[in-house]
């Protein structure tokens, strides 16, 4: 079924039918198998065992259509989600349950630490990237969270982060950009992170009505009134127009004025932890934003109109198109591709589903050079490894730590820019070493909270030798990729029928670990190590070694 015949979806995600024609892989000279693997490398967090065959069975167009519809049931994920108590709560309930540092003592009901909330947030992310059936939506959720980055290092924003991603971003990643932008601008996480919650009309500026309630709260906190430009600036520079978007310092001030009064209900009162518009804090004087005037005497409409204006601005279209091209095609997308995507974005009224669908039929997407052109982010690396090995994630903290060591502490990028999405930002000698170590540790089942069973994974064809293990591992982990090159390089190391035994005899003697008085080793071993596959048998040890090398190989760092 060509994607073109996909009926306009009835869900609220997108109002428009989208794709005009079939994926052009054949014309671009790709085999169907290689094209399927490429689709999986771009629109998922990595192929799971047998997934290339499943895409082929369904048909490439149809598979993509179902990913764009994002309506696959998520039974496994839902079961995992039930183990995370915060997911059952609304945004304001989460804030009451996991209040920010220093406010736990004042809270009415039972509370838990904000750290525990971040643990659940990281767990939910890691489960989703590995297990979600609607992988494209998950890739986009990661993309848009990073685009609208809010950091958990900000104490005030932290309790709102789970709701920010779950309620503001995830439901809208295949909808209209204006809807996403609006949900983000109103979300307490963003209002607090970029300080708009504190921004009020400057002294002497007219406000709508005297707001007794708000004033009393102000007197209590002794917070002086005044404008804060932070959100106004980043809204234009990062969220919409881009840094070369042609706005001026005066525009920044005017936008900041337009959003005065957009704040968060204070704790302990009705509406605590929710978006709130305070007319008494809103500068109701006339404004001019990017040459458009906003009349005097208006309230929340000021901010909404600014969002209307920015959401369909050509500079915004070009900015968003460029970032999508960088994520899905390569670090340096050509101007033609960006211009075409920007036109789709503008022509569809900022329809994100249509824009992503357009990407999938772009000649640049199917350029032979595009395969493996991107360096995986640490999250993408970890997710693709877990997916490829069918690993079971029991507890997220250990894996989160590994990802941080590789340079991407989840939810903790401090700047509103989000993580840079290009190879140079991810590859340096420190992070590369961490990536290799991650491969070895994962294969050896020694990352806490993650279970890898290579024996089960390869049970269908027990590798008779190290080179058979190598062949199986490259096929499994990198379908339709440079497996042959890896095999050629590693084969000299695997010539022996019994790799592990050979290694043992060749290795320099290493003193046994020191023992304590009871004869137990003084050096503690991680839980996974004791039960790890590595020591079961020489054959298993060579499989561990080979899988670790493949996961840490340069080829597996690319997608």
């Amino acid at each position: 079924m060509p994607i073109a015949t996909l009926a306009p979806t009835t869900s609220s995600l997108s109002p428009t039918p989208i794709v005009r024609r079939s994926l052009p892989w054949r014309a671009a000279g790709w085999t169907e198998r290689r094209a399927a693997a490429h689709l999986l490398s771009r629109f998922t967090f990595g192929a799971r065992p047998g997934e290339v065959d499943r895409v082929l069975d369904l048909g490439l167009d149809r598979w993509l259509a179902s990913q764009l519809a994002a309506e696959e049931p998520e039974a496994i994920l839902d079961r995992r989600g039930r183990t995370l108590p915060a997911l059952a709560l609304t945004g304001p309930e989460i804030v009451a349950r996991y209040p920010r540092k220093g406010q736990r003592a004042k809270a009415a009901g039972a509370t838990e630490s904000p750290r525990e909330l971040v643990r659940q947030l990281v767990g939910w992310k890691l489960w989703r990237v590995q297990l979600a059936e609607n992988q494209l939506a998950e890739v986009l959720a990661e993309f848009w969270f990073n685009h609208f980055n809010v950091s958990a290092t900000d104490n005030a924003a932290r309790p709102h982060l789970l709701s920010f991603e779950r309620d503001a971003i995830r439901p809208r990643v295949l909808g209209r950009f204006r809807s996403l932008l609006g949900a983000v601008a109103r979300h307490p996480a963003m209002l607090l992170y970029l300080d708009n919650a504190r921004s009020t009309a400057a002294a002497g500026a007219p406000t709508l009505v005297p707001d007794r309630f708000g004033r009393r709260a102000e007197m209590k906190t002794k917070r002086p009134r005044g404008l804060n430009e932070n959100f106004g600036r980043e809204l234009m520079e990062l969220h919409t127009l881009g840094v070369d978007g042609g706005y001026t310092q005066q525009d920044v001030i005017e936008v900041a004025r337009a959003f005065t009064g957009w704040t968060v209900g204070p704790p302990g009162l009705a509406g605590a932890g929710e978006f709130r518009f305070r007319p008494g804090a809103h500068d109701s004087g006339p404004k001019t934003v990017l040459g458009q005037s906003l009349a005097r005497g208006r309230g929340i409409e000021d901010g909404e109109q600014v969002l209307d204006l920015l959401a369909v601005h050509p500079k915004t279209a070009a900015h968003i198109a460029g970032k999508l091209a960088v994520r899905f095609v390569g670090d340096r997308p050509g101007p033609d591709l960006v211009a075409r995507l920007a036109r789709t974005f503008l022509g569809s009224g900022g329809d994100l589903r249509a824009t992503v669908a357009d990407l999938s039929i772009a000649p640049e997407f199917w350029d032979g050079e595009a395969q493996g052109a991107k360096i995986k982010s640490p999250l993408e690396l970890a997710a693709s490894a877990l997916r490829g090995l069918d690993a079971v994630l029991l507890e997220p903290v250990g894996l989160g730590r590994e990802i941080a060591r590789m340079g991407q502490k989840l939810y903790a990028y401090e700047a509103p820019t989000g993580y840079p999405d290009r190879a140079e930002a991810w590859v340096n000698s420190g992070s590369l070493l961490a990536r290799m170590s991650f491969g070895l540790e994962l294969a050896a089942n020694s990352i806490s909270g993650v279970e890898v069973d290579l024996g089960r994974m390869f049970s269908a064809r027990e590798p008779a030798s190290a080179s058979a293990a190598l062949e199986a591992a490259t096929e499994r982990l990198m379908p339709e990729r440079d497996g042959e090159a890896i095999r050629r390089r590693l084969t000299p190391w695997l010539g022996a029928p019994d790799l592990a035994a050979r290694l043992r005899s060749e290795a320099p003697p290493i003193p046994a670990p020191p023992l304590d008085e009871e004869g137990e080793p003084l050096i503690e071993t991680a839980p996974g190590q004791a039960s790890g596959t590595s020591t079961k048998s020489p054959a298993a040890a060579s499989l561990v070694q080979v899988v670790g090398l493949v996961l840490g190989s340069p080829e597996f760092q690319r997608r």
Partner: protein, 440 residues
């Protein structure tokens, strides 16, 4: 020592400077370089750069006093103004907890959280450059940091960083390169070190090794073999970035293993503050003393984006300043024997509004100040022309004007300390004057 027919023995034990280096499968060229890197003749001049991310308020760090505009500044920032001890001399009471700014005796004060730096200023080793910054008007952290690190205000297309270019132009560009010529104690490679001279980036040198899962139970060197395997894979990959970075990685691992980072003991009296900045400067000091060929070191200091609750003697600014001041002071004590080899400089992307904002903080501004430390630095002085904070002197009516282009400072450091012959060429499109910072 290596035999092509038997890759299993491609391991070499190298005695160099009394230290055994265990290499995983590196070829002879690496062995030669590692030996050179550990020879005593590899003593280098080192420039240490600390980037204060988030834009430090230069007017709070080094506030103007008296005729320089002290009173006017206090009026514009009623919640942020501080009194000074007003003596201009060394004070017993110059302490971190003081409510008073330290009077440097040259028309400027020093925030009390920087108290450990005051003696260095008075000893003539620490200089201050005020009203320094970029000619580009951006108030975006991202852009301003990008411009400063690239060394090209207003130009995004510059692919390399200025520190990397300084290394490429320096006199050590020839000869045996050390894998430690440029080291950033940061989780990601900073923009300043992008470029052709390889740079090592890692938050903590102690973590710089390949994991050895299961080693306690199976101490048979599996990880060692994995290192050989990885080295072969990375040497052969077609992707240039991965291939080059891979080669740097394997060299650096060997050197650090020989050095023993966790065993380092700083000199008596050098008490580094806990946290990433203290650790970074401590490890930089170790690398300098070990003569591994370090020429540029880079670290980061956070916490300067004080939009809210900037505070005075306490608060957001004081927290960040206390860490930075203590770390630099400890570093200087630790390096007492090697001070002639080292210059340290701070930098920050821009300053902050002269007036406080509505949240007890300051918003993004323009000019700020920086610190330069070294035995040959003309210390004890505030360099540059301070434009004042009178209404007519402010940039765009609100910020401290920039009277010294940051490139005037960077070029001076590259020439005066790293020996770059034509420092202006490090900054394409710039033909300004260097700011004189070294004593004759």
């Amino acid at each position: 020592m290596t035999s092509p027919s038997s890759p299993w023995t491609r391991r070499a034990l190298l005695k160099a400077g009394g230290v055994a280096l265990l290499s995983f499968g590196a070829g002879p060229s690496f062995l030669a370089r590692a030996a050179a890197a550990s020879s005593p003749g590899n003593r280098k001049k080192t420039l240490v750069a600390i980037f204060q991310r988030g834009a430090m308020d230069g007017l709070m760090a080094v506030p103007p006093l008296g005729e320089n505009g002290g009173e006017r500044l206090a009026r514009l920032r009623p919640q942020l103004a501080m009194k000074t001890n007003g003596s201009g001399r060394v004070q017993a009471g110059d302490s971190l907890d003081s409510e008073l700014a330290i009077d440097l005796g040259v028309g400027f004060g020093l925030h009390p959280a920087f108290a450990p730096l005051a003696p260095l200023f008075r000893a003539g080793q620490l200089g201050i450059v005020h009203a320094v910054g970029s000619p580009d008007p951006t108030r975006s952290h991202f852009d301003a940091q990008d411009y400063m690190e690239a060394g090209t205000p207003g130009r995004k297309g510059t692919t390399s960083g200025w520190l990397d270019r300084a290394l490429a132009a320096g006199p050590s560009a020839h000869g045996a390169p050390s894998p430690f010529r440029a080291v950033a104690l940061t989780p990601a490679l900073p923009r300043s070190l992008y470029g052709e001279v390889p740079a090592l980036a890692i938050a903590d040198l102690a973590d710089f090794r390949l994991a050895s899962p299961g080693a306690a139970l199976d101490p048979a060197g599996l990880t060692h073999a994995a290192g050989q395997g990885f080295e072969a894979l990375y040497a052969a990959t077609s992707e240039r970035l991965l291939r080059n970075t891979g080669a740097e990685t394997f060299e650096a691992v060997e050197r650090l293993r020989a050095l023993g980072v966790s065993r380092y003991r700083p000199a008596a009296g050098a008490e580094y503050p806990a946290g990433p900045l203290g650790r970074a400067l401590r490890q930089i000091a170790q690398l300098i003393k070990a003569d591994v060929g370090l020429e540029v070191a880079f670290a980061e200091s956070d916490g300067w984006d004080n939009h809210v609750r900037q505070g005075t003697a306490q608060g957001g600014f004081a927290r960040a300043a206390r860490e930075l001041g203590a770390a630099i002071a400890a570093f200087w004590i630790d390096l007492e024997e090697r001070r002639s080899d080292v210059v340290l400089t701070t930098m920050t992307e821009f300053g902050r509004t002269v007036a406080e904002n509505g949240s007890g903080g300051t918003d993004h501004g323009h000019g700020s100040c920086l610190f330069v430390l070294g035995e040959r630095i003309a210390g004890g002085a505030v360099h540059g022309r301070f434009p004042g904070v009178a209404a007519e002197a402010l940039w765009e009516g609100r910020d401290l004007a920039v009277t010294t282009d940051f490139r005037s400072v960077f070029a001076e450091l590259a020439a005066g300390h790293l020996g770059v012959a034509r420092p202006a060429e490090l900054f394409p499109g710039w033909s300004g004057e260097r700011l004189k910072l070294f004593r004759a």
